[in-house]
Amino acid sequence: MTDDIKTPEANEEQILYAKILEVGMYIGLMILLVTFVLYMTGIMAPAVPIELLPNYWVLPVHDYLETINHEYLHRDHVVTGWGWLAVLGKGDFVNFLGIAVLSGVTIVCYVGILPTLLRKKQTAYLLMALAEVIILVLAASGILTAGH
């Protein structure tokens, strides 16, 4: 332990990461709250009537998607992956925008610190950041699927 002379500061890439994360978090949260108000007030009509939601949220996800597609959306395929973008005009699906921003901000943070890591010749961390970006983009892409 050393006596307090000066409060230690975080390194450059850590501060940069924090700043991007903070901005992204606020943007995502704001979008989420605004879109939820649009949904709840009926300003944007939902695909699934909110008073009927209790009939659907008891179902396994596969059955839920099949049912709401059959009864309300009438699309060729159920809405999975980035399919919600095509129904963004619906009050329930517009909420996915904020959720996607909140889920995506970490990718932006990692991409944001790549130039700093490159300039500082932090090869190991540069490779780790690149690998993390690839993994998160892969997860976000919807290529990785699972189901019952």
């Binding site: 050393t2 990461y17 190991a124 998160l136 997860a139 019952h148």
Partner: protein, 317 residues
């Protein structure tokens, strides 16, 4: 006195028999049509607010309380509860992350290698969890929650673990730092050891986080603190920040599979964030041991409920 009264009120709300009974009954009935539709998000908002207070007081993330309790007592299918649980944990991490990073309490250098392993495994865990039968996942969730209770009871925390020498991996990666410990007015130098076994354990932590939608603060902190030797404050802050990466990867899998119902997610996020906000303030006057046992009791209750629900056995409540 105030703390005890607040805790009793919180517990009473959480265990409110008529509320839970109504929730339980409606969950059994088809479509939960005993209550008007808006009652569920409203109850969820109130309950997650209480959970937010308890989570902040008990030093656990919101996800570990959210998933077993909501899946056990609400009519929502486990698929949606896990998706919402991850987003609850993710939001808490996103909210706390920037502050911890700027204060140099969360370490990006410590988090990056750990996150790479945990987030990869969380994706695998999420895919496995969504592929397995619901009853099996629910039972395994209950067993995991009871395991977490055992860990909470058994694990001792070390404020400043003794790390005689940094190991080769952490030295090569430059994982060390210094932070200001305000309580004693000193700067603390820290380094870590046993990096390889620590990273290995994050394989399992990531798998469980993704499979059950739990977040993973309950496991991150003991590994960072007790195995790798990071000071407690660094471990807690880095763990919280880490969740913003680990849970992101799994959250994408659930989001892409359609396991997100905004009517569940948004009230949960708002409730848990408001509750955490209040909880942090109560924490100043709270007795940590009393709150810790309160959380342990709640987890025991929720874990037992998850197991009985998964096995289709009767539950006393």
């Amino acid at each position: 006195m105030f703390t005890r009264v607040a805790a009793v009120v919180v517990t009473a709300l959480a265990f409110q028999p008529s509320l839970l009974h109504a929730v339980q009954e409606a969950g059994v009935m088809t479509g939960g049509d005993q209550l008007v539709w808006w009652a569920w998000p409203l109850i969820l908002l109130v309950l997650t607010f209480v959970m937010g207070i308890l989570a902040a007081l008990g030093g656990v993330g919101g996800g570990v309380l959210f998933v077993p309790i909501v899946s056990g007592f609400f009519p929502f299918h486990l698929d949606f509860v896990r998706g919402a649980g991850l987003l609850v944990a993710l939001s808490g991490a996103l909210a706390a992350g920037p502050g911890f990073l700027k204060m140099n309490l969360a370490s990006l250098r410590l988090a990056m290698p750990v996150a790479l392993i945990a987030s990869t495994c969380a994706i695998i865990g999420a895919m496995v969890g969504l592929a397995l039968p619901t009853n099996l996942v629910q039972t395994a969730l209950g067993a995991t929650i009871l395991g977490i209770v055992a860990l909470m009871i058994a694990a001792k925390k070390s404020e400043f673990p003794d790390v005689p020498q940094a190991d080769k991996i952490s030295s090569a990666l430059g994982i060390y730092g210094v932070y200001t410990e305000a309580s004693i007015g000193k700067n603390i130098d820290w380094k870590i050891h046993r990096t390889a076994p620590g990273l290995f354990l994050f394989i399992f932590i990531g798998l469980m986080a993704g499979m059950f939608g739990l977040g993973a603060g309950w496991a991150n902190v003991p590994v960072l603190n007790l195995v790798m030797g990071a000071p407690l404050k660094i471990s807690v802050a880095t763990s919280k920040f880490l969740l913003s990466i680990t849970d992101t990867s799994a959250a994408w899998v659930y989001l892409n599979q359609g396991c997100v119902i905004p009517m569940m997610v948004v009230p949960s996020l708002v409730g848990i964030m408001l509750g955490s906000f209040i909880g942090v303030r109560i924490l100043r006057v709270a007795k940590p041991s009393f709150v810790r046992w309160l959380v342990i009791g709640l987890l025991l209750f929720a874990g037992a409920k998850a197991i009985t629900k998964g096995l289709n056995l009767p539950f006393f409540f």
